[in-house]
């Protein structure tokens, strides 16, 4: 198999010969398998094979990018020609350029991101896992009347990056996932929910029947959902939903949002932005982590970083461009696809566990909402205004009572982060962004 690092280095060399003052190249390839079962029958089998090359060039301080799936000699030549031609049209930018040499990774840590089982995965055992998950969901209750099915997917691939200032690196990674989506019916009302597991390794997946049972439990508890009266209430976010608040936080402290002044958290380094006890960490080096990476999309070394410490903002998320715009140093959070300039994204981002059991958190609420689903896009990073569709369970005197739906919850992220009044002890790393149960003291619920 061709070494992608060599192709990347070759592309950079060609770009330099063609007139680029600096360049970097990203190469990637992947193979995938996806299967689905519905109502016990085979529904889908999909196999994929993809490859991609992306070249970024700098002519002076002007830049452009070309990308292609055609990795033949002619295809790579076209990449170089296209990128250079475009960079002769774009405007110079004094903040542009490759990352500073001092920030570039000098070692590439092994992070256990690849399981060779991905290479030999056959459809039959994949279908069996789906069947086991869906069967368990359907067996959970006679009220599970239908199913969107169960799906298994896995993929393995390689990525390589080379720069004209001498960095070259690459790594392989794999991913596996299993999910089930049962449908329940009561009194003519249908509800669906889902559960899933994802992992870098095949053996890291949760047992199929456990996924099916949890999917059924989540679906059944939604039956009979109804709106509640409009008012202000304490809100408890279950862990999966609480993690979405971290994603909004990450968006507001991404370098690109900050230098464009498109964030409600401008100039907040060292300021208290969240309640005491809130500590948020980004760890790209966690072995086997779903978002782990030995270096970032510009070849900058990865490091574990405290983002929020006891409510105080300690770090933004920066790539080298946004760092230069802000007069700061890159934090190694450049995310890169072949076809675009680096953007900024967190890696394994989590809010550290707190002292309270989830039961104690629900138990502390006299009248409020336990949120199990959020839908829609009603989050404004510029102002922090927040208004999203929600579903969940009503809390009355510390107990979960009836399901709730067709309501929204609204507030401002600035107040919401400062209003976190209880942090759960139930942090688990099931997803790249993870949080324990969180309670926010007060938000507006719009319903009847």
């Amino acid at each position: 198999m061709t070494d992608l690092r060599e192709i990347a280095q070759d592309l950079v060399a060609r770009a330099r010969r063609a007139g680029a003052d600096a360049a970097d190249a990203v190469l990637g390839d992947s193979d995938g398998l996806e299967v689905g079962i519905r109502l016990g029958e085979v529904e889908k089998l999909k196999r994929s094979r993809e490859q991609r090359a992306g070249l970024r060039v700098f002519v002076g301080s002007a830049t452009a990018i070309a990308s292609s799936g055609d990795l033949t000699a002619a295809g790579l030549d076209a990449l170089v020609t296209d990128a250079i031609a475009l960079a002769r049209v774009t405007a110079p930018d004094p903040h542009g350029g490759l990352p500073d040499q001092a920030d570039v990774a000098t070692a590439i840590p092994a992070l256990d991101l690849y399981d060779a089982a991905v290479e030999t995965m056959e459809p039959a055992p994949a279908f069996e896992r789906c069947r086991a998950a869906e069967d368990a969901a359907r067996a959970a209750s006679p009220e599970i009347t239908n199913s969107e099915g169960a799906e298994f997917g896995c993929g393995g691939g390689r990525v390589a990056l080379a720069t004209s200032h001498g960095f070259v690196g690459g790594y392989a990674s794999s991913s596996f996932g299993l999910s089930a989506v049962p449908i329940a019916t009561r009194d003519g009302q249908m509800q669906r929910d889902y559960w899933y597991s994802s992992s870098r390794t095949l053996d890291g997946l949760e047992p199929a029947d456990a996924i099916g049972r949890e999917a059924a439990r989540r679906t059944l508890r939604r039956l009979g959902g109804r709106p509640v009266p409009t008012g202000e209430y304490p809100i408890v976010f279950e862990p999966e939903i609480a993690a979405s608040l971290l994603r909004h936080l990450a968006g507001a402290i991404a370098g690109s949002a900050l230098y464009r002044r498109a964030s409600f958290l401008l100039d907040s380094l060292g300021e208290t932005i969240a309640a005491p006890g809130v500590t948020v960490v980004d760890d790209p080096l966690r072995p086997g982590g779903l978002a782990s990476r030995p270096f970032d999309g510009e070849g900058v070394a990865s490091a574990r970083r405290t983002i929020v410490e006891d409510g105080v903002l300690r770090s933004y998320f920066l790539d080298s461009y946004s760092a230069r715009r802000l007069g700061l140093r890159t934090t190694g959070h450049a995310a890169r696809s072949a076809g675009d300039a680096p953007g900024v994204s967190p890696t394994n981002l989590y809010l550290e566990a707190g002292p309270h059991t989830p039961e104690a958190i629900v138990g502390s609420v006299a009248k409020g909402l336990y949120v199990t689903e959020l839908i829609g896009f009603g989050v404004n990073t510029v102002t922090g205004d927040y208004s999203r569709g929600a579903a969940g369970l009503w809390i009355e005197n510390g107990e979960l009572t009836h399901p709730v739906e067709e309501i929204t919850i609204a507030g401002n992220l600035r107040d919401m982060l400062r209003g976190i009044s209880m942090i759960g002890s139930d942090l688990r790393f099931r997803t790249a962004t993870a949080s324990p149960t969180l309670k926010i003291e007060r938000m507006t619920v719009a319903g009847t």
Binding site: K46, R47, A62, G376, G378, A391, T408, G411, A446
Partner: protein, 477 residues
Amino acid sequence: MHDAAPERFLLERFALAPTALSTVLGTAVATRADHADLFFEHRMAQTASLEDGVVKKATRSLRQGVGVRVLAGARQGYAYSDEVSLDRLQVAARTARYIAERRSDGAVAVSVADGRPHDLYPVATPPVETPVAELAALLGRLDTVARAYDPHVTSVLASIGIEHRVILVATPDGRLVGDERPLVHLSVTCIAERGGVRQQGSHGGGGRFAFAELAARAEQFAREAARQAVTNLDAVPAPAGSMTVVLGPGWPGILLHEAVGHGLEGDFNRKGTSTFSNRIGTRVASELCTVVDDGTIAARRGSLNVDDEGTPTQRTVLIEDGILRGYLQDKQNAALMGMPLTGNGRRESFAHLPMPRMTNTFMLAGQEAPEDIIRSVDRGLYAVSFGGGSVDITSGKFVFSASEAYEIEGGKIGRPVKGATLIGNGPDVLTRISRVGHDLQLDDGIGTCGKDGQSVPVGVGLPTIRIDGITVGGTQA
């Protein structure tokens, strides 16, 4: 006769003879398959983005490949690759037919549309070949226009995306159906700042037409983005609770897309997982409402000469005078439900399986003047622009988030309110429509629909309408 250029272009590009396609399709259907197809695609894309008053970034990309699909009842087998050769196609065909080899059910007849493809978006020069310097010059003008609109506009981001997609669908009956699809898109985002308050406004548009046509409309988009940002500087917190809402014309048609459109896609209804399952012939909207999906409108973003299965698109009545009339279908779901094809089998790319998807979805115009509709509301909300929406098709709950809205007080438009999310129930919300304006507008060409991880360009449209009671998710309880 349809121009044979796309067919010839792709087969030459991949050095394949039509006989080779027959061989591969023969391999794919050699088992107990109902149908098979090959989907070839070649996509060139060009982007340019402006920031700080100049174009600092431009990208160009090529994506090409082929997928082989086998249908057997409710089963689909698919294999794709971005390396195209006869050997690889044969391997893909054998992979895809795995699902047919193990079927236990009987054959299902899959119909093939015999209509001719439309010719909805002829362009003399593919817009993707426009010199990047022209894109940069246009973007520079937009920066000037947006900043000139109001001195409080502090930053302008603008970008142009142009793609040129050539597709080819080959089926075992020897048919080759190709399509060449230009698509241009422009978006402008402004940030306005005054007295420590910052707000954002966005606007954009595009379609399947020449770059010059985009350039002719672009300054209006820039002024709209600036106007929205500056308007929102004065926005007050939105109300919370159930109230009367008037939706302005055009892009607020996203209501139809979320509240009913997805729920009427054939796959969900075949599986009985949609809140609209088994409701054809029943009332799902007030008698003022007629909703159609129309993929045949010239040059629109959501239009297609043929869908991604080679079926010509059409105008499909979904709701007629409030009564549910039809679903949107692809080949597999039409066959399994025994219903006609509607030309809605769409896919994001060769890396994806087709599914029933919307094209341009809108409500037909009514009788009333929009001013009269606003005047009829004593207290409520007037929403004219939206950020995005989503729906749970099983429970029917949908949301969409306003990016520009106003109070209505005593029949008059009042202060702007901060973005609020509206939430409702699909089969219920259209029954509450009590007034429909005569001012049907289609959106400016910015919609992208996501389903099962696949994004496709779509259009929506709406006249001004009044909804008697929908939940507005503001903060002012």
